[in-house]
């Protein structure tokens, strides 16, 4: 498999280089199809976690016949260990707005909404001012597109795209059945292209530099670079833009404290990788994909506590709509507590893994479906710590 050497890059936060109005004018001189082809050609995949090819998403939305369509920027960033979207919106919001406007032009939408999690309300005032300026700059150029700001109210599940639409429609944030997908029926049941904050910035970068220079970084399956949120037992916690496709051992060499026993890749809903697997683990869509969350644990940490924290998180954040997830999260949590206390035999962990497998198949949305990722990877690799 193609692997890369760890490499820090600086495209996302680079403010000197990017004159967003110039990028916008240059891009809007192209046709919608040309833009979509560029994005497809770049190989850009969504940076919010699921990794769907962005250009295809736009193409599907463009192909829908409807007078009303929407662009949505998903800024709900609730995955534990992720904090890059906040930093992007704080430091380079214009690049996000520009990506939204380009998307609007490409798919035929006149309105774009940023759904900002309530925990980031302190960004709102400044963001709204910059949005107002951006909107007036679009109006000056007779370009019919407007950006609006909406807020969440402390529900992780509203980062799931259909729950996000529900929330914007004044409903409980309960994920919908799919299909129909957002490209067909999203916000207000209209065709909607929903993109992560970081994805939209890369769109702006690709339109500025061309798909070739984006493709020059990363691997065949994971083009470009990505912003990582690094936390836990590291001397250098923070936000780093890194080339995709690096092996985890290099990441640990760079960011670990010399005693790294495990890395949780992709947040609470991601995978836990133990030391013995660092060399064989690629960070990217061909290996372990991540929305950017990289949590580092050293040997002083109890992996039981880590798993317990994650399960508590899911139990509280499950929307409760479907039984496998609502009851499953609670039972997994109770189950590991019982094993720890000795009320249940260690073999009970196998029953719990079956429950996690059922949740993966039977849950309605990504939340319930992904609980088995942390559960299995922690139980399998740190069984003793869960039991004793």
């Amino acid at each position: 498999m193609e692997t890369k050497v760890i490499k820090k890059v600086d495209t996302i936060f680079d403010v000197v280089e990017c004159n967003y109005i110039q990028v916008l004018e240059k891009t809007l001189a192209k046709t919608a199809d040309e833009i979509i082809l560029d994005i497809i050609d770049s190989g850009l995949k969504g940076r919010g976690g699921a990794g769907f090819p962005t250009g295809l998403k736009w193409k599907f939305t463009k192909n829908e016949e409807n007078a009303v369509k929407y662009v949505i920027c998903n800024a709900d960033e609730g995955e534990p260990g992720t904090f890059k979207d906040r930093e992007i919106l704080d430091r380079v919001p214009e690049k996000v707005f520009t990506g939204m406007a380009i998307c609007g032009y490409a798919i035929g939408a006149k309105e774009g909404y940023i759904y900002l999690r309530g925990e980031y309300n302190f960004l709102k005032q400044d963001l709204q001012m910059k949005i107002d300026l951006f909107n007036s700059q679009l109006a000056d150029r007779d370009f019919d597109f407007k950006v609006f700001l909406r807020s969440g109210s402390g529900a992780y599940i509203c980062g799931e795209e259909s729950a996000l639409f529900d929330s914007m429609e004044g409903l409980r944030g309960e994920p919908r059945n799919k299909p129909p997908y957002p490209t067909v029926a999203g916000y207000n049941l209209k065709p909607t292209a929903i993109n992560n904050v970081e994805t939209l910035v890369y769109v702006t970068m690709i339109c500025r530099m061309g798909p070739e220079s984006f493709k020059a970084l990363g691997t065949k399956d994971s083009r470009g670079s990505k912003v990582f949120s690094v936390s836990g037992d590291t001397p250098t916690p923070g936000i780093y833009e890194l080339e995709l496709g690096m092996p985890l051992n290099q990441f640990v060499d760079e960011f670990g404290d010399g005693d790294t026993k495990a890395v949780q890749v992709g947040g609470a809903s991601g995978h836990c990788v133990p030391r013995k697997k660092y060399n064989d683990t690629i960070i990217g869509f061909e290996g372990i994909p991540t929305g950017g969350s990289m949590m580092i644990f050293n040997s002083t940490r109890s992996m039981y506590n880590v798993l317990h924290d994650y399960l508590e998180f899911f139990t509280e954040e499950s929307c409760g709509q479907c039984t496998p997830c609502r009851v499953g999260c609670q039972q997994l949590l109770k189950g590991i507590e019982a094993v720890k206390k000795g009320d249940k035999k260690p073999s009970y962990l196998e029953d719990l893994k079956k429950l996690a497998a059922t949740m993966k198949i039977a849950s309605k949305c990504g939340l319930g479906q992904s609980v088995s990722n942390p559960f299995n990877s922690i139980v399998d690799n740190f069984r003793e710590e869960i039991i004793y």
């Binding site: 960033e77 609730g78 995955e79 534990p80 260990g81 992720t82 904090f83 906040r86 999690r117 309530g118 925990e119 980031y120 309300n121 302190f122 709102k124 909406r150 807020s151 969440g152 109210s153 402390g154 529900a155 992780y156 929330s167 914007m168 429609e169 004044g170 409903l171 409980r172 944030g173 309960e174 207000n188 949120s229 690094v230 936390s231 836990g232 037992d233 916690p237 923070g238 936000i239 609470a268 949590m295 940490r301 506590n305 880590v306 924290d309 994650y310 998180f313 509280e316 954040e317 929307c319």
Partner: protein
């Protein structure tokens, strides 16, 4: 008209008389009154042409849309893993000590409510808390005490 009714009317005229305005209207009430009273939810229902149960159904889903009375200042300490590792327990103890309440409770003078929250998005700078919309990262017990005392001073003046 009560002040709540006026507030609801103002918010509805600002955001528009449609269900899509429900979240911003609820958020606007919480911003001013810190929680959604029964009275407020009934006014909203009337103004947006929804049933009160419908309004309550939406409100009760969201952690930040409280339907029980809260203090003037709401403190939310992040309890998720990274902040757990950097010492959120000590911060919570410190707050419980100064405020003389447990997590989930409101002080007698109705000035503070102490709550915990899931990941606030500051894992590289934990422990962290929100007081209303303001964020306070990289907390230590003494820093926490200073911040809260500042809020206490402002409350009595």
């Amino acid at each position: 008209m009560s002040s709540t009714e006026t507030l609801v009317k103002d918010l509805v005229s600002k955001y528009g008389k449609s269900r899509n305005s429900l979240m911003p209207v609820l958020q606007g009430i919480v911003q001013e009154e810190r929680y959604l009273s029964e009275e407020a939810m009934i006014f909203i229902a009337k103004e947006l042409d929804l049933s009160a149960a419908d309004v309550y159904g939406t409100a009760s889903f969201y952690t930040f849309l409280d339907t029980v009375p809260r203090g003037k200042n709401i403190i939310r300490v992040c309890k998720t893993i990274s902040c757990h590792m950097t010492g959120k327990d000590l911060i919570i103890e410190t707050l419980e000590d100064i405020l003389k309440v447990k997590v989930g409770q409101t002080t007698h003078d109705k000035n503070f409510t102490l709550l915990t929250a899931n990941c606030l998005g500051w894992c590289h700078k934990g422990p962290v808390m929100l007081i209303n919309d303001e964020v306070y990262p990289e907390l230590t017990p003494s820093r926490t005490t200073e911040i809260v005392e500042e809020y206490m001073k402002n409350a009595t003046h």
